[in-house]
Amino acid sequence: MTSAAGYNFAYLDEQTKRMIRRALLKAVAIPGHQIPFGSREMPLPYGWGTGGIQVTAAVLGPDDVLKVIDQGADDTTNAVSIRRFFARTAGVATTTDTAAATLIQTRHRIPEKPLREDQILVYQVPQPEPLSRLEPSRAETRRMHALAEYGLMYVKLYEDITRFGHVAISYDYPVMVNGRHLMAPSPIPAFDNPKMHRMAALQLFGAGREKRIYAVPPYTSVVSLDFDDHPFRTTRAPQCCGLCGADSSYLDEIVADDKGGRLFVCSDTDFCEERRAAGHVGPEGVAA
């Protein structure tokens, strides 16, 4: 184990880790319920994944293999800097391979490849309160959670349907966890919501600025809110991935030139690279 001189293993001091660990255990015991915790200042600004980083720091051990993704990509600024942060402060091995990772910290995506029982998924959460846009008072939303009074959210979905003909929420689509707590799945696309349902891996959520931790244990029911006559449906761009040809993965739209050219590629870069290495070629791709 090599870690940066002058810093504790994984940056946080032990007192802070114990506080976060106690919160995490309560979070697992009450799936979907937000637990307040004493969020610390981290060496990067709130909004850059401080909640996820603190959860990762409290969980991470020297034998872990860490993967960090930002919108599915391993090579964006946020992912690279968080991965380097833990490589330096904890000396852990890092990877971009979803299957090789034991701990995956994510910003706004769930990997395409199904996760296993021995993996932990840590989400960076900007706004942990699913009712925040409907009810600004935290005292009030806490009471609504206590009473399981989620009518306001159903009214919002109903108003969407009357106005647009469908529920117009494309990310951070509210879910009901364990049949009891309404939860914000962090701003993952609604496309990823079904992957949370009875996922084999433990899912931990950290919101640094809002100072909340919550969790979904393995094999826990996570149901996207809907109505019998307007069932929850996922949407994706109708194209296939330009590079690997995948027709069921979540796609990013990339401006390719200044003549209106567009390229649709898998948002999960590891998934795309693995497919191309296996010989799949999309319409814009070159054989690997």
């Binding site: 504790n8 293993f9 032990e14 007192q15 880790k17 114990r18 506080m19 660990r21 106690r22 919160a23 995490l24 255990l25 309560k26 979070a27 697992v28 015991a29 009450i30 799936p31 319920h33 637990i35 409290a58 969980v59 991470l60 051990g61 020297p62 029982e117 806490r142 009471r143 959670h145 206590a146 009473l147 364990n178 009891r180 707590h181 009875r198 084999a200 433990l202 969790a215 979904v216 244990p217 393995p218 094999y219 826990t220 029911s221």
Partner: protein, 189 residues
């Protein structure tokens, strides 16, 4: 003097390894984990119980120690520095199941403000069979433990019905550890 006995050989990595065991146990109810293998806690504290205390308890928490474990009080005080608690303590450490209804089970708005019971048993993985079901379990799972009272199912049922309020149990025996979060339902064998 029990105070002479050491804690984790490496406090940072020892606590991390034990926490992962507790986290896995809590997220997969009834699954037995091993921890505290290198600990030599004072009698009557089991290595797993001691490891959990070193990992989770500190000066920010309150702790209620059962009289039957009083011989290890000095060691716990020295290594953890927890304040003495009452029935509303953050942690209760005991070797017989306490009256769960008398402990703090949190309130509707803050169900997390509840007591966690660290219960030291004779053995895990053998003894009376229970069937567990709930979050963390793909299907109802058998769980064996020796040392829970005969009326455990009734008492646990009353605790489980309080959900999302309730008490979480961390069970320790020797170097074995398992957990029963409040979300899990237990039935006969």
């Amino acid at each position: 003097m029990s105070i002479d006995l050491p804690g984790f050989a490496d406090p940072v990595l020892g606590a991390q390894a034990c926490f992962r065991a507790v986290l896995t146990a809590m997220s997969r109810p009834g699954l037995i984990q091993r921890t505290g293998l290198d600990l030599t806690p004072p009698s009557p504290l089991a290595p797993a119980t001691a490891a959990v205390l070193l990992t989770l308890v500190d000066a920010e928490t309150t702790l209620l120690l059962a009289p039957s474990l009083a011989a290890s009080a000095e060691w716990i005080e020295f290594h953890c520095g927890a304040r003495q608690g009452d029935a509303a303590a953050d942690f209760v450490v005991t070797d017989s199941l306490p009256d769960l209804a008398a402990l703090e089970s949190g309130n509707d708005e803050c169900p997390e403000r509840s007591t966690t019971v660290i219960l030291q048993l004779a053995a895990l993985g053998q003894g009376t069979a229970y069937t567990l079901a709930g979050p963390g379990l793909a299907a109802p799972t058998r769980f064996l433990a020796e040392g829970l009272p005969a009326d455990f199912l009734a008492r646990w049922g009353a605790n489980h019905r309080l959900y999302p309020r309730g008490i979480d149990l961390i069970l320790c025996a020797g170097t074995d550890l398992a957990a029963l979060p409040r979300s899990v339902a237990a039935s006969e064998g």
